[in-house]
Amino acid sequence: MIQPEEGGTRGAVAGPVSKVLARLPTAHRVLGRLRGVELAVALFIIVLFAALIVLVPLLGLPDPIHQHLENRLLPPGTDHLFGTDQLGRDVFSRVLFGGRTSLPAAIAVVAIGFTVGTLVGAVAGFLGGAVDQVLSRVTDMFFAFPVLVLAMAVAAALGASLVNGVVALAVVWWMSYMRVSRGMVLDLKNRDYVVASRAAGRRRSGILARVIMPNVLPALLVMAALDVGRAVLMFAMLSFLGLGAKPPEPEWGSMVANGATVMEQWWVSTFPGLAILVLVFAFNLLGDSIRDALDPWVRGRR
């Protein structure tokens, strides 16, 4: 049929005219380079954070817990790069040691959410019928709560601690993995190659574990990698409210909360806040570039 002006649909032939096309490669190269920069920045920041967190005990920084009341609330300077807090502890040291809590906690939240969600979703999608109905409605119920309120309720019920904070977040974290995993399994289970495995005589458990899941997991793993940034943020929020890591232990969220009581001494809350900001920003950048690289439509358009 006749193509309307400007190509219309993304069907067999989409068609701006050759003049525009001639200009396309340049635009493509520019965008391509930009994307590379994004990815490099994101990876640089994440690797830097990871390295600092791992190596911080070797740096000879002041103890992050021991109090030096004579050094209370010193501004940033040569002795204390980020200044000190109300109890005379070095903020720089506490930010770095705090990373040892925040990042692993975030990763643990995502890992638990990923595992539970993927499994529940895979079972629901594969078995279908009543099992699917029950599991999907349970998931909907969890979705129906405001995420932070539910996490707070769980954390409060379990009592404030690092582990309970992680558990509380995991409780609200698994549902999106369940939805995606279920959807992909539903789609894949009627593909020819899965039917072929059935015809080959493979057992049902084998079909799910060995044939379907290897084709589902890569996408979910990407999703999980993108989620770490959000988990860092959520965990900090929980700690800010006093429901995550317990006080003497350095943790970004609780440090921001702690600093909020002494606003004139801006450094106490600003530096841990910046740490959250930069790390989450890096994960979001990483997420964007991975998604762009994977999304064939975005890729095709450039």
């Binding site: 001639a22 039917v195 072929a196 080959a200």
Partner: protein, 673 residues
């Protein structure tokens, strides 16, 4: 129009695909001209550049693809220099296009009537009232019954054939001088294809519209095109009047394509003459003539220098060093060399106890009504199918899409549950098997799938895919791997392919893997559902020959499902013809093909596009579309389309007769034998 002033003239057209860091030529210097009222056919396999050539003409190349050189003149006007505005003026008004996939090329949220009128309104050629009347006329002229009602329908309410008609009506409405049709009948059933071709021919004759038709099907070309261009690897390799070109091809590629098709004159025991290898990809063209690695006539010069397109002795143009020196031998003159070895001539059919006995099989698919508290309809996929398959037999099942042939295959393989009826396999009813019993049954019957791209797990290596059935049935991996290598060898791949992933292989190779996988357990029965219909034409014959070879060597019992009755006749010992969930005719293959008794079989056989001129009136063209399997017609289900139908047919459903005979049919007024 005088020859010096053609309607469209394409000179040395190049189309380049830009990819990261490199550019490759997909069309490498194509030239042709077409006069008003002429029908030019462009035939070629996927990747030959035929679609890009016509997209370049219409200025509709996809992003990242550009015209690399050459010129396109339409009525003397240089289209490459034309402004964007001028191009869109020409498109739709002077040059219209018809695409293959009518479902995606029609806008799903616009009524048919609006879409048909669109070109007139866009080009301000008519006011809306006039456009409406014109649209109605066009819809009528392309054979859409009740155009008034059709105008207010949406595309999804139309069948494939009706949508294709609507697209043709849209293309025609502005009375263009040229219509470009890209595989216009490929997605259609054979009996509908015959109707569409008929319409195209009539419109070309009556309205004097020039047509450029793209197809991979030489039969379609023979029917429609006055001039034929054969493309291979981005160039025209042969060009000439269609009938002459098909009768005396002067390029080895054209000749090989013609010879690889099953012809009526070919004995059933003969192998097809397959073309070696696979079409080259545009990234890795062989040096010299791109066809030389597959060409039986290739000589030294072909490996070094690419031949130009020159007029040869027979009058057509051919790009072949050999043909330019001396005319090629006629088609089929050396086919005798490919006769099957003596003693292996035919698979042994044991007419004793059948291996598979299907009785009164019924399968309906429930469709949700969309309204709460109301029952939806049911697709009557199978409505009482009975068949016997004897050991060593190859049963071909033919029918159009929606007739239930794939459902039958899946029921026999027990991939879906049946509603009622029985399937006796190896002397037990398998319809009631569940769980572990069913899993163990699978060892004895294996499928070959239609789409080799979809039927292999993208994340599994070839050897793991082929070993899967063995491992699933408890063969230890140590013993499985040598067996896998053996089977890969058997299907002509070689064990070294085992380490590859599916995406590293071509369609033909993947289909061989699919067959290897089906063979590895040495099942008694293989069910192949359209195993070649998603392969390139030049590769199809290889797979058919492979199946025949395996049939003879392994005494396979095979159920072969296809919409191509000619192919089924070539491969099968018996044929079952299905129409709307019923078997309407069943019998020995040669008998059913040469003396069909059911009018539907007659129409299917007659819809086979033979090469060469067709005697007028020699073809049965069925009217209308296949009826909906949601509401099958009363009495004989074929009566709404049957040229022989009488009152009785609408009331009483005929049963298959004579009972117990090897050739039987379900018709009150059968054709004379």
């Amino acid at each position: 129009m005088p020859a010096s002033n053609p309607l469209l003239e394409v000179q040395d057209l190049h189309v380049t695909i830009d990819s990261v860091g490199s550019a490759r030529e997909a069309v490498r210097g194509v030239s042709f001209r077409i006069a008003a009222g002429e029908v030019l056919g462009i035939v070629g396999e996927s990747g030959s550049g035929k679609t890009l050539t016509v997209s370049a003409i219409a200025g509709l190349l996809p992003p990242g693809v550009r015209v690399g050189g050459g010129s396109v003149h339409f009525r003397g006007e240089d289209l490459r220099a034309a402004s964007r505005h001028r191009l869109s003026e020409i498109r739709g008004r002077e040059i219209a296009m018809v695409f293959q996939d009518s479902l995606t090329s029609l806008n799903p949220v616009m009524r048919i009537g609006v879409q048909v009128q669109e070109p007139l309104l866009l080009h301000r050629m008519a006011r809306s009232g006039e456009a409406r009347i014109a649209a109605k006329e066009r819809l009528h002229s392309v054979g859409i019954p009740d155009p008034d009602r059709a105008m207010s329908r949406y595309p999804h309410e139309f069948s494939g054939g009706m949508r294709q008609r609507a697209m043709i009506a849209t293309a025609l409405i502005a009375s263009p001088a040229l219509i470009i049709a890209d595989e216009p009948t490929t997605a259609l059933d054979v009996t509908v294809q015959a109707q569409i071709l008929d319409i195209c021919k009539r419109l070309n004759r009556e309205l004097d519209v020039a047509l450029i038709v793209i197809s991979h099907d030489l039969g379609v070309m023979s029917e429609l095109a006055t001039t034929l261009a054969v493309m291979y690897a981005g160039r025209i390799v042969e060009f000439g009047p269609t009938q002459q070109l098909l009768a005396m091809p002067q390029n080895p590629y054209t000749k090989a394509l013609l010879e690889s098709m099953p012809r009526a004159s070919l004995a059933r025991t003969d192998d097809l003459k397959a073309i070696l290898g696979e079409p080259p990809s545009p990234e890795a063209l062989p040096p010299g003539c791109p066809f030389h690695p597959r060409c039986p006539l290739a000589e030294e010069r072909c490996r070094l220098e690419e031949p130009p397109l020159l007029t040869v002795a027979a009058g057509s143009e051919s790009a072949c060093w050999v043909a330019q020196r001396q005319p090629l031998p006629p088609v089929g003159s050396d086919v005798a060399l490919h006769r099957a070895p003596e003693g292996l001539a035919a698979p042994r059919v044991d007419l004793g106890e059948p291996l598979l006995r299907v009785r009164e099989l019924v399968k309906h698919f429930q469709i949700p009504s969309g309204t709460p508290f109301r029952r939806g309809g049911a697709v009557h996929a199978l409505d009482g199918v009975s068949l016997d398959v004897h050991p060593g037999e190859t049963l071909g099942i033919v029918g159009e899409s929606g007739c239930g042939k794939s459902t039958l295959a899946r029921c026999i393989l027990r991939l879906i549950n049946v509603d009622s009826g029985s399937i006796i396999f190896r002397a037990r009813d398998v319809t009631t098997l569940r769980g572990e019993e069913l899993r163990l049954l699978r060892r004895h019957m294996q499928p070959v799938f239609q789409d080799p791209y979809a039927s292999l797990n993208p994340s599994a290596r070839i050897e793991d895919a082929v070993a899967e059935p063995l491992l699933a049935h408890g063969v230890p991996k140590r013993e499985a791997l040598p067996r896998v290598a053996e089977v890969l060898e058997l299907v002509g791949l070689g064990a070294r392919y085992g380490r590859r992933f599916p995406h590293q292989m071509s369609g033909g190779q993947r289909q061989r893997v699919g067959i290897a996988r089906a063979l590895v357990l040495e099942p008694e029965l293989i069910v192949a559902d359209e195993p070649i219909s998603s392969l390139d034409v030049s590769v199809q014959a290889q797979i058919i020959n492979l199946l025949r070879d395996l049939q003879r060597r392994l005494d396979l019992t095979l159920i072969f499902i296809s919409h191509d009755v000619r192919l089924v006749r070539h491969l099968s010992t018996s044929i079952a013809v299905m129409f709307l969930g019923k078997v309407v005719e069943h019998g020995p293959s040669d008998e059913v093909y040469s003396r069909p008794r059911h009018p539907y079989t007659g129409a299917l056989v007659s819809a086979v596009l033979s090469l060469g001129p067709v005697a007028n009136g020699g073809r049965i063209i069925l009217s209308g579309d296949p009826p909906s399997p949601l509401r099958p017609p009363s009495g004989c289900r074929f009566h709404t389309r049957c040229p022989r139908a009488q009152e009785l047919c609408a009331e009483v459903e005929p049963s298959r007769e004579p009972v117990g005979a090897s050739h039987n049919w379900a018709c009150h007024f059968p054709l004379e034998g």
